[in-house]
């Protein structure tokens, strides 16, 4: 065996290689009615990061998380934790999870009783359970309701209890399915901050699924977009947004100045927005590339126009997500890129924005003519 093959990258906490999952009906004669949830999924999650899985309903996010948790066995493929086989029980790291929203705990028991019970299941000593329970209840501001039955708590509190139970025993990996769904702003913020602290201060690895793009954008170190059981892209939020950054520039200037130069821009696409204060207008230029803006800037300078603000408009993560899934539906495939120079050799694409240095992606269109028509 190749010596390099034995080298294990310990900075990768979770690795899924060519993981396929098909759910078959119970009876063998119904095998043809199987539903494929994952089609050769490849995913690597770095240690000490928050990895968010995004995807439309039925994309395979929950199946992925449950395979990582060991609750579902893959049909084929390999899963490893820190380079060790992920199927063998003894080699699995400690994993905490909240997979069913608030439903992962005993509603008839109190938060403290839940923590004690699951602590015992995890094999913690009574002293350790007591210490950790106290800490967790205080951190999640549940101490004063520690002895109330969980069913009498608000949804936000129930979610906090479920996360506390998952955190008990100091798991190395935390899996969360929609952790802030349906929570009030304060509770969502508390959980968001807690997750950040867990990663930044304690080096935990968190994998979460969500449909809340603001949550994904605010806490994720890396975002993986899954659709139809396959990974479309996996990169940092910043890179993804950068990659899809349009050549849109937003200017704020006085109405009189704008009226002076507007005639020069009739051949340029722009949108105009009236502003309520001081007779200002906001002009957004929709350009083909960033170089075009130099021409605009030159014209404005020539006319001695002073603008109040200027910024390049960045897409939101939601817009990036929608763009990627839209491109995928139109036949585009996304290949992870090892070297940014490859970009120069990448096949031409009409639907992707111009190349950005930080990009770690390359797109190949299966059918560029179809794309052009689109």
């Amino acid at each position: 065996m190749n010596a390099n093959a034995n080298k294990v990258n310990k900075s990768i906490a979770i690795s899924l290689k060519d993981v396929c999952k098909t759910y078959y009906p119970l009876f063998p004669w119904q095998k043809s009615r199987g539903v494929t949830a994952l089609r050769g999924l490849n995913l690597e999650v770095e240690r000490g990061t928050i990895q968010t899985l995004l995807g439309p309903n039925g994309a395979g996010k929950t199946t992925t998380v449950k395979i990582i948790a060991g609750l579902i066995l893959p049909t084929s493929g390999q899963i490893t934790f820190y380079g060790n086989d992920g199927v063998r029980l003894r080699e699995r790291p400690r994993i905490g999870a909240v997979l069913e929203g608030t439903r992962n705990i005993y509603f008839r028991l109190s938060p403290l009783e839940n923590l004690y019970y699951f602590g015992e299941l995890k094999g913690l000593s009574t002293v350790e359970i007591r210490r950790q329970s106290k800490e967790l209840l205080e951190e999640f501001r549940l101490a004063d309701r520690a002895r109330s039955s969980v069913q009498t708590l608000s949804r936000g509190m129930q979610q906090k209890v479920a996360i506390s139970v998952a955190l008990l025993g100091d798991p190395e990996i935390l899996l969360l399915d929609e952790p802030t769904l349906g929570l009030d702003v304060e509770s969502a913020l508390l959980i968001r901050n807690k997750l950040k602290t867990l990663v930044n201060k304690k080096g935990k690895t968190i994998v979460l699924t969500t449909h809340q793009m603001d949550l994904a954008a605010s806490i994720s170190d890396s975002v993986a977009i899954i659709q139809e059981g396959a990974l479309l892209v996996q990169d940092s939020t910043v890179n993804l947004i950068d990659y899809f950054k349009r050549a849109d520039f937003e200017l704020e200037l006085s109405r009189s100045d704008w009226e002076r130069v507007v005639g020069d821009f009739y051949s340029t696409r722009f949108t105009l927005e009236e502003m309520s204060e001081n007779d200002l207008v906001k002009v957004t230029f929709h350009l083909k590339n960033t170089q075009e803006f130099y021409v605009i800037a030159y014209r404005l300078a020539e006319a001695k126009i002073a603008f109040r603000s200027l910024r390049q408009v960045s897409p939101t993560l939601e817009e990036v997500f929608l763009e990627i899934t839209r491109l995928h539906k139109r036949g585009a495939t996304f290949i992870e890129r090892a070297d940014t120079n490859e970009k120069e050799n990448a096949p031409a694409s009409t639907s992707m924005p111009e190349a950005v240095d930080k990009s770690a992606l390359r797109q190949e269109t299966k059918n560029s003519t179809e794309d052009k028509k689109g």
Binding site: Y23, K66, L71, L73, I95, R103, N104, E113, E120, G123
Partner: protein, 267 residues
């Protein structure tokens, strides 16, 4: 040590879940008590002249209490799996304690201990109402408990089969209810009245040998370790061990199938 910790954890959990709503526990007890009298009065009307002799009443009580343990052992796996899958706790348990079958064994022990408390209360209520007290000396008592435990281990095998089915199908409550009546019939079978060939066949059925031995101890004051009863007790042990092993194996197969099909949380 770890085993005892788990027993304690399960005991506390079961105790809290049972007694958090005491009315539920009391109504369960009353239901079993009233059901006994429903059966008792029904049986009385079937006896010629409406009289029921002490021997029959003792037999009736023993069979009834045995049946209680049977239905507990039979339904506890499937019921707990159904409820916990519905509540989403099943996955959390699997995540924290992957050797779920072992946990179910511990739960069975805890349930049996709590069942003994329940049966003691029920027996007290029945005895005071009928004015008929089962008298047992120390030796007979522990032999009776031994027979009950060995019989219940076999029934747990059946319970595990239903538990395995519950993992895959989730809603199997009706099958469990149906089987309760099959076992009810088995616990009341007048085994001593059958021919030798039929009695040999009964060795292979669950429960019948246990009920027969229990009646011999409680009603006729016999010793299970006497020469005549030892083969019967040996047969009971083999019978229970076989059903328990088959049940455990079936449960493990269903568990694997449920993990492959992603059915642990489906309801």
């Amino acid at each position: 040590m770890a085993f005892l910790k788990l027993v304690r954890a399960e005991f506390v959990r079961t105790f809290l879940l049972t007694f958090r709503y005491p009315l539920e526990f009391v109504s369960g007890l009353l239901l079993m008590y009233l059901f006994f009298f429903g059966l008792f009065i029904g049986a009385r009307t079937l006896v010629a002249g409406g009289t029921i002799i002490s021997f029959s009443l003792s037999s009736f009580i023993v069979s009834y209490l045995m049946w209680f343990f049977v239905i507990s052992a039979l339904n506890r796996y499937s019921y707990s799996i159904e409820v916990e899958a519905q509540q989403g706790i099943l996955e959390q348990i699997y995540l924290n304690f992957p050797r779920y079958l072992f946990l179910q064994y511990i739960r069975a022990i805890v349930d049996f201990i709590l069942g003994v408390v329940f049966v003691s209360l029920l027996l007290t209520m029945i005895s005071f109402t009928t004015g008929h007290f089962l008298t047992l000396d120390f030796e007979a008592s522990w032999q009776a408990i031994l027979v009950v435990v060995v019989s219940i281990i076999g029934i747990n095998g059946f319970g595990l089969i239903f538990g395995g089915l519950a993992l895959m199908f989730k809603r199997i409550g009706q099958v469990g209810s149906l089987m309760q009546f099959v076992f009810f019939l088995l616990s009341y079978l007048p085994t001593e009245q059958f021919s030798r060939n039929v009695q040999f066949g009964l060795y292979f059925l669950p429960l019948t040998q246990g009920v027969k031995l229990l009646k011999l101890i409680v009603i006729q004051g016999e010793n299970i370790f006497s020469q005549t009863n030892l083969s019967l007790f040996g047969g009971l042990i083999l019978n229970s061990a076989a059903y328990f092993c088959i049940g455990s194996l079936f449960f493990l197969l269903c568990e694997r199938k449920a993990k492959i099909d992603g059915r642990l949380s489906q309801y």
